[in-house]
Amino acid sequence: MGCFNSKFTKHSPGYEDPVKLAAETAFSVSEVEALYELFKKISSSVIDDGLINKEEFQLALFKNSKKENLFADRVFDLFDVKRKGVIDFGDFVRSLSVFHPNAPQEDKIDFAFKLYDLQCTGYIEREEVKQMLIALLCESEMKLADEVIETILDKTFQEADVDQDGRIDRDEWQKFVSHNPSLMKIMTLPYLKDITTTFPSFVFNSEVDDIAT
């Protein structure tokens, strides 16, 4: 009895009540509690302050904090809901909720749109898509001639940019995704359905850090 209550009395800045978070997201209370175990692990990896900074985020994603990366930056910025340069537990849970298999498709489409809108203008510009393509090619050490890249962009914008104004707006994105549903694959993490088995939160012995997978 004492274990259950004391677990929640000592918490970090930015900690939020699991019941409240469960009510607002696709997660159950026990799933939020399991996410708290993951959050604690990530947020203490460089600075033990109960918050995830950019370095800790990169370390968690890539197991290597030196990997600076356009896409990781965008994801971090979107997770950093309050624009404070750090991700607190509430931000973490609310952002991950979008990736839950049960999250509304609308939220996923929205997140992806914001992800690709690099300059946050409310439109996905051709130059931004080109930038992302080049980043992808660099990362994979694939080489494509510039003409090939331009042809890919032409084809993409022909299909997506309905009013042909050189940029993709939110409505055009919605229609484009409905014709290309595979684009939303990255917006779902099947892991999130099994999170309570990956991170059992009812650990009575606090010295036991090993997580059974």
Binding site: A60, N180, L189
Partner: protein, 140 residues
């Protein structure tokens, strides 16, 4: 294949790394090939069967399984190979390890990418292993 499908292949957009101990990025490999899709699939099948893999084919996707009689079920190397068309002359091959030893997986990737990817040098095709590749379509 459109730009966003390519972009979505980025390892950095795969957040499953948050939940894994192993570097998730290491499990996916991509390279380009100028061989036609059918030839790529055939070549992969041929190569991996010679290496002792079992192959299951489903359209442009292959499931490769290497059973090591000495080890347990979850240590067997299981890899998915998929071929995507960028244009009729250019394909992207993606390899994804779903289980097994990372070192063995890397060896497989090196073998397949060295067999299948060719370097295009200006207007000349550089030969690899004595094979010249005629491109059947008007490439940009």
């Amino acid at each position: 294949m459109n730009a966003f499908q390519l972009i979505a292949m980025s390892r950095s957009l795969d957040l499953s790394g948050l939940f894994e101990e192993e570097d998730a990025a290491e499990r996916k490999t991509r390279f380009t090939s100028v061989y036609p899709a059918k030839d790529i699939v055939h070549k992969i099948e041929e190569t991996v069967r010679a290496m002792g893999f079992q192959v299951q084919r489903k359209n442009s996707r292959l499931n490769l399984l290497h059973i090591d009689p000495k080890s347990k079920g979850d240590r067997h190397l299981s890899v998915a190979a998929e071929v995507f068309e960028v244009n009729p002359c250019l394909h992207v091959v993606e390899l994804r390890k779903s289980a097994g030893d990372i070192a063995q997986y890397r060896q497989l990737c090196i073998k397949l990418s060295s067999d299948l990817s060719l370097q295009k040098d200006d207007n000349m095709w550089r030969e690899k292993g004595g094979i010249t590749l005629p491109c059947p379509c008007p490439c940009p």
